[in-house]
Structures are given as C-alpha cells and as structure tokens.
C-alpha cells in the first residue's frame, strides 16, 4: 500500500483523500496551522512526528504553495519525498516563476520587477495598462492591482510593495483558459482538454470544459505544461492558466497542484484530477481519460448551503468550511450531452444561486 501525505488541511487535500479511496489507496493530510494529522477524509486530528511520517509516507505532496517558515510542514515540504520540492523553490515567488518561463521560452505577459516606487510609472510608460502583483502570497486576486491604460496609479501601494512585487503588462485577452495535466513519478504525462474560466473580482466563478475552438491550442498548451513539469522534476497534477490573445496562448501563472479550474473533472471525466494526482504519486499507471460531455463548474463562494441545489441535476461538492464572504466553500458540477443542454442546466441553476451569478452564467457562454 502506497500511502501519500498531503501538506495542507483544506478542501484540495480532502478531495485527494476522497479520490484515493476509489482505488483503496490512502491519502492522509497534515494541517500545518494546527500541527496535526487528519487521517483520510476524517476530522479526527491526531499528533504525528517526523519519524512517524518517515515510516508511514513514502510520498509527500502539497495542496498549496506556501507553508510556515518553521515546523514539520516546512521540513516535509523540503524533504526528498516531497514531489513538489522543486516547484516550491520556484513557483511561490512570481519573480522566479516568471524568470523560469522566460528561460524556457514560454510566452508570458511582459514584466518587470517593482523594486522601487519609480518602477511603476516607468512600467506604465513602457506597457500602457499594467497589473501589479505581489511576488508571493496572493490568490483569488488578493495582492493584484489592475490599472488600465491611462488609469489611476494611486490605488497601488507602490512604496509598500517595493521589492515585493512585479509589474506585468495588462493583456487584452479574448479568453482565459487553463490546462490541467499530470506527470507520474516515472515521467509519463496526461492532460485534460483546455478549460475556459470566468473570474469575477479576481475569483474564479465559472469554468467550462472542454473549451470551444481550441483545436490549435491544445497541443501547445500540453507542451508548455510538460516542459514546466520536466524543468521542475515534478510529479502529480499541475495547472497552467493562460490568456488567449490573437489566437495564441500566453501563460498567466502556474499552480503546482490540483487546481480549481480542474474541479469539473469530478463528474465530467471518468477519472478526476484528484484521482490522477493520487495515481501519479502512488504508481498507478496513468490511463485513458474519457470526458463525458460539455461540463460546467460553478464555484460556490461565500454563500450558505442551499437544499434547493440538491433538487437540480448536477452534483454539489461542499467543503464543510464555515462560510465567509469571498471564501470558496463548494462547487457544483453539471454535465450534459450538448452545449444547449448545459445552457439549460445553468439556467435552472441560476435560479437557486445568489445574486451576482446570473451575469456570468448568462455571459458569453456560447463562446465555450
């Protein structure tokens, strides 16, 4: 029995544990904040030591990019057994992440360091619209400031950010897409079809897969992700977020873990990204990925559980977390035979979702 330990006590690790059970494998979770082990899908927390981890877990993975500087999770993330070890040295800092993309010759939004306040007006001069991003710690759009061409720079705390941010050119993208794929310990790779993503206030709200009109983009996307995984000697699932501009892909950012835009695979494919992640790490050979049909994933954000959700076709995943504004507390997956069928399903769901969802659900979904 190949057991896997995941560092992090959140929903991604929980969904890995759930997926592992399908093939009788075990994923336990180490919660760095509470310094406790959560066995499998349980909340029965137990203390665990470095020695016990060494004995029990030949493979360690992560569900997030950052860990406390000290303590067991930091040690485990740096250990030989952690298959994200290389990625954790590069990805969490946008400076090293963007530098790696440049080195690999992978297209990404042009960027400069924000080292001193004056770098900001200089970048605006050079790029027109800009996006300022904290080098580390940002997610769901936190730590990101978007300033369109001729926009007001005063909202950006440039003095505070000096030495701790990068400035990107603001890209006039047509769509946001992402790819999720896996690399096994022995180097095999496998990819899901490109997914289209809609963000509201920097938070992913809706994903649709397979994204429409991606015939010429799928292979390049796979090649980029494959190159990144190889460069980082990574094993498990990794995701890349793209901008589509002028029919080409440009990398936005990399997530060295299962990714929110891959949650549709729970019901949309025979094997989900969580299955794939666990299999890649436990030595189960990667396998045929049969996609069931046009699939949508609606993120449930800062909203309490509604029984009415259960009355609609589709499946709710609920993380059992306390509800706070802007917090991802679950997701709902819909799969249909046709895009029209999916459209109908989303219309029905719109009636039982809080305000703010209708706009994105009714948006340019036809673009796919």
């Amino acid at each position: 029995m190949n057991r896997v330990l995941v560092l992090g006590g959140g929903q991604l690790g929980l969904m890995m544990a759930e997926a592992a059970a399908r093939l009788g494998l075990v994923v336990d979770r180490y919660d760095p904040e509470r310094a406790l082990l959560l066995p499998g899908t349980s909340d029965l927390a137990v203390p665990i030591s470095w020695e016990e981890c060494q004995e029990r877990y030949p493979v360690i993975t992560v569900e997030r990019e950052a860990f406390p500087e000290e303590g067991l999770s930091a040690d485990l993330a740096k250990s030989d057994r952690c298959v994200a070890r290389g990625a954790l040295q590069v990805i969490p800092d946008r400076f090293t992440q963007k530098s790696m993309l440049d080195k690999l010759g992978i297209p990404t939004a042009p960027w400069v360091l924000l080292d001193k306040e004056e770098d900001l007006p200089a970048a605006v001069e050079q790029f027109g619209g800009v996006v300022v991003k904290a080098r580390s710690g940002g997610y769901d759009g936190r730590g990101t400031w978007i300033v369109g061409e001729g926009g007001d720079l005063s909202a950006v705390p440039a003095a505070e950010l000096a030495g701790k941010a990068i400035i990107e050119k603001k890209i006039p993208f047509r769509r946001e897409l992402s790819i999720v794929g896996a690399r096994s310990i022995s180097g095999e790779t496998l990819f899901y079809p490109l997914t289209r993503n809609w963000h509201v206030d920097g938070i992913l709200r809706l994903s649709l897969a397979p994204a429409n009109a991606c015939a010429d983009l799928q292979k390049p996307a796979e090649q980029m992700l494959k190159g990144i995984m190889e460069e980082l000697d990574y094993a498990g699932v990794m995701a890349v977020e793209f901008f589509e501009v002028d029919g080409q892909l440009m990398v936005n950012e990399i997530a060295p873990r299962v990714h929110n835009s891959g949650h549709w695979t729970h019901e949309g494919a025979d094997w989900s990204q969580f299955d794939l992640h666990v299999h890649a790490l436990a030595g189960v050979p990667l396998h045929a990925l049969n996609v069931h049909g046009p699939s949508a994933m609606v993120n449930l954000i800062g909203t309490p559980f509604e029984n009415a959700w259960l009355q609609h076709p589709g499946v709710v995943h609920w993380y059992g977390k306390s509800v706070r504004p802007g917090r991802k507390v679950g997701h709902a997956n819909l799969v249909a035979d046709t895009l029209e069928g999916l459209r109908e399903g989303l219309d029905a769901w719109a009636d039982v979702l809080p305000e703010g969802y209708q706009a994105v659900l009714e948006s340019e979904l036809k673009l796919g």
Copy 2:
C-alpha cells in the same frame, strides 16, 4: 457537523466515508475484529472507547448484519443511536426475516423451518425443488444448498443444519431484480430504478440498471421496501432482492444496508447509494436522483488488479484488500447513452477480465 460511525471495517463503510466527503461530512469506521477506529478513508487505526463514541457520533450505522456477541460493536449496534437497531433484531435470522415478510403480506418464496432431519424430505414432497438456507451467517451463496426437483438430497448436511436453517421452495424465476432505496431519519423515502442481477455460483457477478421492462414492477417494489423500512423504523439505505415470476415480484431476501447491486450508482447516477445513505443519516434532505443512462456493474472477484482495466472507458473501484478466490475485491462501472453502447463497452471489458466472465457478459443481456 453531523458525524456518522459505521460498524464494520470493509469496503461498504469505506465507500460511505468516501461519499460523505463530497458534502464535507465525516464517516468514521469501527472495525469490530480489530477493535479499532479507522478514521474516514484512512487505515491509521486508533483505539476508541464507548464514551468517546457517545461524544463524537450522534448516529451509528452498519455495513453488515452480524457482529461479535460481545464487545464495543455489539453494544453500539444495540444502542439508541444505531439506526439499524430494529433491522438487526429481525433480518440476520432468516426465520424472523421470512416471518416478518409473511406478517406484512409481502410475497416471498414459500418456506418451512428445518428443525429436524425429516423436515427436508417433507419439504421436498411439498415444494418439489428446494433451497436450503442457513438461518444466519450465509452470504455470497455460502450456507445455501439448491436441490432441483428430483435432485439428490444427500449433498445437504440436514442433520447438522437441524434447528439452524430454513427450506424454501425453489422458484423458477425469469430474472433476479433488486431495489435500493433510502429512508431518512424524518421518514422521507427515495428509490433507484430496479436493477437486474446475474449470479454465478451464488455470487453477484453483473448488475444492469435500470432493468428493462419494469414499468409495472417499480412501484410495487418501492411499496414493499417502504413497508419493510417503516416496519423496522429504519434509516439509511436498504435493499431488497427479488425473483420475477409470471410478471410478479417475490422477495428473495433483505439487506439492511447499502448493497452490492447498488454499486452501479457510483457512476450511473448523480448521487450514489453511499451518498444517499450518508445524507439520510446526517439530515441532508433527500434529493432528485438523476440516472445517467444504461449502467453496468461488473464485480471483480478473486482476481488481481489489472492495469489494462484503466485503459477502458468506465471506472474501477478497488477495495485494497488482499486477493483470495471468491472474494469481492472491486467492481467496475460502465455507463453509456444506449444499451447498444453498453453492450460494446462490456464486450471491450470482456477482453481484460479473467475467464468465467465472458459467459455472463454475453448472456441474455438484451433482456436488460
């Protein structure tokens, strides 16, 4: 958070824990043989006392019918919190089970007690062909002796079985069907469509759902299961196995738990029988059951894991148990848009299954 404890350390409880995680609920498992708690989907066994169980688990359920006579599992199974308490007083003994069916006026194969050796020839005289069944402890056809009309009675250890078995009339059934349904703590009920089952050597080998040509049988089946659940004041999922004779249903036996013939619901419906079971116990309202299409479940029996299985559309569930002849070690689910599609899928699977599967896969499947 409503936690549920399941008594039993096998695959059914494991699949409950897996299902619970979908809605952020927790099912932990108590293994009576090892007297240890298995938290969620993990194999990290921890000791637990009656007091801790009282504190942690408002609801207790079971994944099997029989428990050691003494010890924590026996006490928990008899406690107020165990929603199968009533069923466990009636179902495990075929005498009390059949008596209840007679009392409820539910059709079942005619039967008598085997109290002394001479009861056997007398029953043969009365019934023609007979099936002798140990009153308790039998499963997968163990503890069952089938003797056709004019057949040889000497294979039945009648002296040994005296006082511990019943004798049923052998029913010339056209098909074996089953129904799986749930009753919530508040008395709501919900049912999956009737499933057709094929047994080989007394062990379920293949299920197909929804079974064909059941328009007139679905409602009666639901009524019978509903009546049984109410009689036993049961909560959770329960299954009834039927014989179809002359277009009517006759109960074979009752399983007060999730059931092998409901495993197709893993991929064949939005919510599986394991979801339904946990929801019924955790107070999640029962919900729409959307069936995805013709579904097949192939039991994997006594055969080692094959990587080739992963190369076919369909999903393998593997229990992580050691492989022994006749032991259920996993199941594979296929879902298609049409019966013809399912037929093709099963043909492809036949190539990667051990000998002995082909006959049943190619059998009268067209009957559905």
